[in-house]
């Protein structure tokens, strides 16, 4: 009976494994978001010499859960003159791109279960890094559409601003990653980790790391680059008109992007799951590095004030882009010699 079932399922093994992996990864991402919100609120509380949420559950861990239940049952107001379809589509695009981007992020060497080699990633594509850039670039439309469909001047302005910001910093992201590709000779994220088994890339490419991380913070719209939600000028930017869960979906996208960006920095510059002699499981090493970077994200938010919009744009175009081109040039000179 069971043998029959196994035999019947044999040709679909890949499909089944793929589905299970996708389910686990998507579930983990959705689970990490409330945890991250909790971590951010607790840490921010400590940074600002207060306690942070500590009433619901142990250490306030129940807070994000109760928050999300509350958000789900809030009224979703659609402003009368808004374009209804696009208004619904915008937050869906943000969450969709955030989740799909994570599909190509590997987090460990393949493991063997029941004679099946299972890679710890949803998809292993040879153009992994470009896939990340391509899909995360689609997230811009979520903001543009949210701004456009709301039919509100603050939203429109916020949408335009954040998309202009994102496309400017996307360039630096790509150009800074190029020096790592030159060193590795591959676009596959797994190859990149394997090429760092003796020392992490950050030691030989500190400038590229810095540029990539700055661009990454801007790309995820986190402080000090959180211009889309510059409350003082734009109310709440492109999500001014959003309420309830749809409002939360934008933040969900932001937090998932934060995790993806931390994972990407870890893979490119910090050696991925290589632990360099410290006896921990590879996946723990990877999670530890990602967790540390996430804390840096929160740390940045509570340290730096928001940067002015014109400064932000000129900083991106006049400092980051030329510097990353220069870094690429210097790297290639060293490689060719």
């Amino acid at each position: 009976m069971i043998d029959d079932a196994i035999e019947f399922l044999e040709p679909y093994t890949y499909l089944i494994i793929g589905s299970v992996k996708a389910l686990v990864i998507a579930g983990a991402l959705l689970g990490i978001v409330p945890l991250l919100v909790w971590l951010e609120r607790r840490l921010m509380g400590r940074f600002q010499v207060r306690l942070g949420p500590n009433r619901v559950g142990p250490f306030g861990l129940g807070q994000p859960i109760s928050d999300s239940i509350k958000l789900l049952f809030k009224e979703s107001i659609i402003q009368g003159s808004a374009d209804k379809f696009l208004f619904h589509l915008a937050p869906a695009i943000v969450v969709f791109t955030a989740i799909v981007t994570f599909a190509v992020i590997p987090f460990g060497d393949p493991i063997t279960v029941m004679d099946q080699e299972i890679g710890l990633w949803a998809a292993n594509v040879d153009i992994g890094l470009l896939f990340v850039f391509a899909i995360s670039g689609m997230g811009i439309y979520g903001m543009v559409l949210a701004g456009f469909s709301s039919n509100n001047k603050y939203s429109l302005m916020g949408g335009l601003r954040s998309s202009a910001q994102m496309i400017s910093y996307e360039l630096t992201l790509g150009l800074a990653a190029l020096s790592v590709i030159v060193l590795t000779g591959s676009l596959s994220l797994i190859d990149m980790v394997n090429s760092q088994d003796s020392y992490p890339n950050i030691l030989i490419q500190p400038l590229a790391f810095l540029l990539f991380f700055i661009a990454g913070v801007a790309e995820t719209n986190r402080a000090p680059f959180d211009l889309p939600e510059a409350e003082q000028e734009l109310v709440a930017g492109f999500h001014t008109e959003y309420t309830g869960m749809k409002f939360a979906m934008f933040f969900m996208g932001e937090y998932i992007n934060m995790v993806t960006m931390s994972a990407l920095v870890t893979l490119l510059f910090l050696g991925g799951w290589n632990s360099y002699g410290i006896p921990v499981w590879p996946i723990i090493a990877f999670a530890g590095k990602v967790g540390f970077l996430l804390c840096v994200f929160i740390w940045l938010r509570s340290t730096y004030p928001r940067i002015r919009y014109d400064r932000l744009m000129t900083f991106g175009w006049k400092v980051l882009v030329p510097l990353s081109l220069l870094n690429l040039l210097v790297t290639s000179v060293f490689v060719v010699l």
Binding site: V125, D126, L130, I135, G137, M138, I167
Partner: protein, 170 residues
Amino acid sequence: MELLIFYPLAGLCVAFALGVVINNSPVGSAMSLIAMMLGLAGIFVLQQAHFIAVLQIIIYAGAIMVLFMFVIMLLNLKGSGEDASWRSRDKNLLMTVLSGFLVAGLLYKILCVLNSGEFDSPASLPENFGTAREVGTILFTEFVLPFEVASILLLVAMIGAVVLAKNKVD
């Protein structure tokens, strides 16, 4: 298996392509165009052209369509007001004739290609076909000159954009 993926993708592409034409709001048209390009990228993947697929998303769906959206928002195109200078019947007639020519030409070309037998049997592809490495090898050895000329083209476009945009500001 491949056909099982191809037909839904192709169907989606055609549907969204129709959506571009039919949609009333320019933003809706642009979104359909983006969705169509994503479907096209999927078809490229089926054709083993992985690198081209990702370029399709990055350049067309990612960069050029952002420009389109910006232009739509900048010009404040909302809904389709009837063009006053043209009577719509004349316009429609002209459009029909022109697009008829286009469709006829396209069909003729497709028939030619089908009859030539070039695509009859799927040739067995080399293992690394379509990867960034293969595309790069050809681009940077055989086609060096077009590659360098492309940089001049980009330079011209850059200068043109600045001249146009800055003149309007002054």
